[in-house]
Subunit: 342 residues, 4 copies
């Protein structure tokens, strides 16, 4: 089987990471590469680490350029995927790495993104309950946001098991690639090195409704989320520290059992041995998720920490994992759980 794949937005960080992974996927042949402002340029200077594609010239992002492939990956600014997707045939697998089709509630979309809701596609987080069923055979996939990937994996077992109160508090640190490649002063190396700073505090981050959607579905009741993202001085990685009050009767043992069961058969999620904590460096460049749990008896809270690579499992790796499922390929084809460390 040869899967011909096109990538829209090939000059950005998400597109670049996807291409890195596609180059290692044994069943994929890389087709059209498109871009917006970089159209007409060779990929070499834009993605200097992707040596085998250095001479590829970027086409403008149009439905015509993307047509004729088995899979089309969209790594476009929010709000631009729908117009492209509707011109690609229903038989084409369209994987949207943007936010457009993640939310089920049109009101949430409008409140956080300020435009009309485009719809809802099957959600590309296979580890969630029913996640793989929704993806199998699908021809449309909404890849989760990077923060919601880490946070949902950290907390859905607790909510699914009914052991956590429906008020989650999350503080997460992200590497700078999560903010994209557009040159903005606050993302300069001079600004971010040696610096930790929060943003979107108080409920304003666009990933918040996506987390609420996932956690509420797991809990079977509305879950509120207090989410504070912070920018960390590293290129990649998300470390999400998630907690919620424990419902009565929780113990370290029962908490651990819940998580051991939830991830027992997951190829990419590691519940770490007791005493070892997730580290973003350990999942650098890999599709792995490291999770650890603790029950803080004095505070009465369940604390779950998850580490992912925001570009890999958090974006491009998650997209590829979902593509594998949709196409009936082994789920881990072309995906590694081994990080590049130190």
């Amino acid at each position: 089987m040869v899967v011909r794949a096109a990538v829209a937005g090939a000059s950005g960080y998400a597109g670049g990471e996807l291409l890195r992974l596609l180059l290692a996927h044994p069943d994929v042949e890389i087709g059209a590469l498109t871009a917006h402002s970089n159209a007409g340029q060779a990929l070499g200077p834009l993605q200097p680490h992707l040596r085998p594609l250095a001479d590829r010239v970027l086409e403008p992002t149009t439905a015509e350029a993307l047509a004729g492939h088995d899979v089309v990956f969209l790594a476009l600014p929010h709000g631009q995927s729908a117009a492209v997707a509707e011109r690609l045939g229903d038989e084409v697998l369209v994987v949207d790495m943007g936010a457009d089709f993640r939310l089920k509630d049109a009101g949430d979309w409008e409140k956080f993104y300020g435009s009309q809701h485009a719809g809802t596609w099957p959600y590309g987080l296979p580890e969630l309950p029913g996640g793989r069923d929704a993806l199998a055979g699908s021809r449309r996939i909404a890849v989760p946001g990077c923060y919601p990937t880490a946070v949902s994996l950290a907390l859905f077992p607790a909510y699914g098991a009914g052991i956590a109160e429906p008020e989650a508090v999350i503080v997460a640190a992200s590497g700078t690639s999560g903010a994209g490649k557009a040159a903005k002063p606050h993302l300069l190396g001079s600004e971010v090195m040696g610096n930790m700073t929060p943003y979107g505090v108080g409920g304003g981050h666009r990933h918040t409704p996506e987390m609420i959607q996932n956690l509420s579905a797991a809990a079977g009741e509305p879950v509120t989320v207090s989410f504070t993202p912070t920018l960390a001085p590293m290129p990649r990685g998300i470390l999400a520290t998630c907690s919620a009050k424990a419902k009565p009767g929780v113990s370290t043992g029962s908490l651990r059992a819940v998580y051991a069961k939830a991830f027992a058969d997951e190829p990419f999620v590691d519940l770490l041995p007791e005493g070892q904590w997730p580290a973003t460096a350990s999942v650098y460049g890999s599709n792995a998720v490291q999770v650890q749990v603790a029950y803080d008896e004095a505070a009465g809270r369940i604390v779950v920490v998850a580490a992912i690579d925001n570009l890999a499992k958090g974006t491009a790796g998650g997209a590829l994992q979902s593509m594998n499922i949709a196409l009936g390929l082994p789920e881990d084809t072309g995906l590694s759980t081994i990080g590049v460390a130190p």
Copy 2:
């Protein structure tokens, strides 16, 4: 007035930062410098940034070496301060930068430090209610821990004003100097760069009882604290993200008013203008504290973020500020609120 100061533990990070600040203090004359394993060595290669002290030779840490000064700063491993302090006269100002005399509850000390409690000294966080009164004229000062400094300043106004429920959730990122200068594999540059990782999760960090002590005093009722510290890839800085459920009636405006009032006359604490967020880079090397608040209506939580330099305001700067108060000097003598950035 000339204050003769001795520093025990001069070869470590806390001692080095203290010396950097003392060199800029117009009223202080630096006397004996002592160390343990580095005794007998010149300071130059150990603290290469402290050029004017390069030829100073470190003496072994003994009460004899420290005697005869107006102020003695102790930057010793936990549990070692009492033995030294009791041999220094009551007229000598002893400033303990270790943990020994911070906690009021002997049981807390024994639980978290595993040794006998040495006692409780006036607490060197002047910004707390009654903080300055406790320090004025005192001849013993317990310098707060770096995390408790950030967290207590972030949350005491909310608890003092009775607008927060007594269950605080805190996630903080610290630069690596907070872990000291002892060479341990997990602190190697190869390990920490590009890496975020938590430690002491689930209530185990020794700074937790100190936070509980401060916040409970402010609240007038017992406050529980869920504290997760994380190690960030930067040499200095603490970013503490602190939240608690709001009591009924809180609004963004009332929250902001509480904090504006609490810090109105504080020389080192900045409540940032709305829209601007604390950044550890902005307080690099300075005694300033940046604070910002948000009320997350959907989650019903007060979120407060504070940034400090863990070595400056979080340790040596706080020590010096308290010394100034104890000696009757202007509180900001020798202390800057201007960070070294970018």
Copy 3:
């Protein structure tokens, strides 16, 4: 004596560092602050570390705004200083932190900067032979480039003593602030962290003719310079590794003697003890220069390594040091030799 100082280009990195230093200068009162694209904005969000100036509003950079001060610092893009300077009176001390007035040879200027040469001002590197005489009482100062500061200090003693062949080879690493605050993709944190890369290889860097000018003057004969700058993953600092073939008769001892003599009375230059090597971290935020020398007998070369803070001694600190000399103030007023480390 109160020196009223204006700063043109106050929102950039050079301007920000100058303001940080001016705030600590006991004789300076900060007057007008101007900017180009940021005119009309408050300084607070642009330079969040400069707390005492947070409410200052930036004026557009015009001669009118800058008039009426004792000193005017120009931190403008290359080629813009002359037009401003000629409208400021001869009695005003104008300190140009740009390149416009550094070069003596109009042809060099035109070749490397592509515009008409504006002239030559007294050169703000007091440590060079005759440097202080040229600055004393002057009302125009050309502040050296950051790389030429480090390189000239590293090599002028060898050339002045006639012990080095006139072909210098220099490889220098610079922190990212040397590239300024304009947002460019290759300066994003995601790009620079974990990355070393050269630029301007093969003689193309604009600082090359300035180095040639200084070293040739010291040598009394034309010196060629092979200069390779590299971008290092740190906000500040320059580490310059400089070498030249030794003339016959050089030994480690004679080399060391030459350097010891050259820097014996210099307040800001440290020839390190044998066995200790310059480190940019040791001069972080300070006006100090660390220098170390070695004679590589097998290769027959003199190797000199210098470390400076590119924004401090390399730009704003050097500017202030020269201002002090020009105004007859003690040369080290407001300048520290103590770095902020770790």
Copy 4:
């Protein structure tokens, strides 16, 4: 074909990187893993990124533990390989990642390493003239040092073509993993972040004679090397800036032609297009080498810059590439030229 491989020194950085690559090698089965001080421990906490090997327990490094494999990789401290190797049969492929068998001249070894020379093995840098012939079918391989890998690849074409004078000047920046995993104070994250510092200046670095050996062989005459290594604030990567005076008649065109020819058929070496410069980030985690050349006419020098990943092509990748050749496997089996960026 299944190649059973043992790794001695599996808990260090070189060993860990080798295991990361071996896990992706389709023909290799990982056998015994040994260590010295970490013997008896599971690999999981020591190499947390190597998830599939987490439960492997490290054996003590003995010939017995290493016996019975097709290939034995030695990642041992200098001077320890010979004793192990001589007890492994001649039919076993022994790949020494240490320095013991790199040098041909016993005097050089004794001078730089201070012990008796163990001998000389075929040298694992296939790109050198005759390099592959020496490795094909060999059962002993000496893997080059990381710096010599970068420097030799950068300069052998110029020396081989007779266009460079035999006096090379090299300044290289290395990531901290090159200094190993032993916890030393100067390698702490607090020390290395934000810091550039040289070491082994003036000819003292142990990699110098290895460079001289390679470059002299290429030149057919003795080449002197002035080598200054610097420690850069990044976990991985070497950027080597290498130059030599050009012999008469060199031009940019002829220089470029020499390099284009030298690397025309090399699977891992990229002579970058004009205008693009090597970046360590672009080869992060890959076996690729980026090279760029410039002819500085004013200085009369050839400048060559090379970027490698010190742990990959500089150590473990080079070892694997050489193993492939020795065993008759396709040279690039299990090795990628695609970096993990940003």
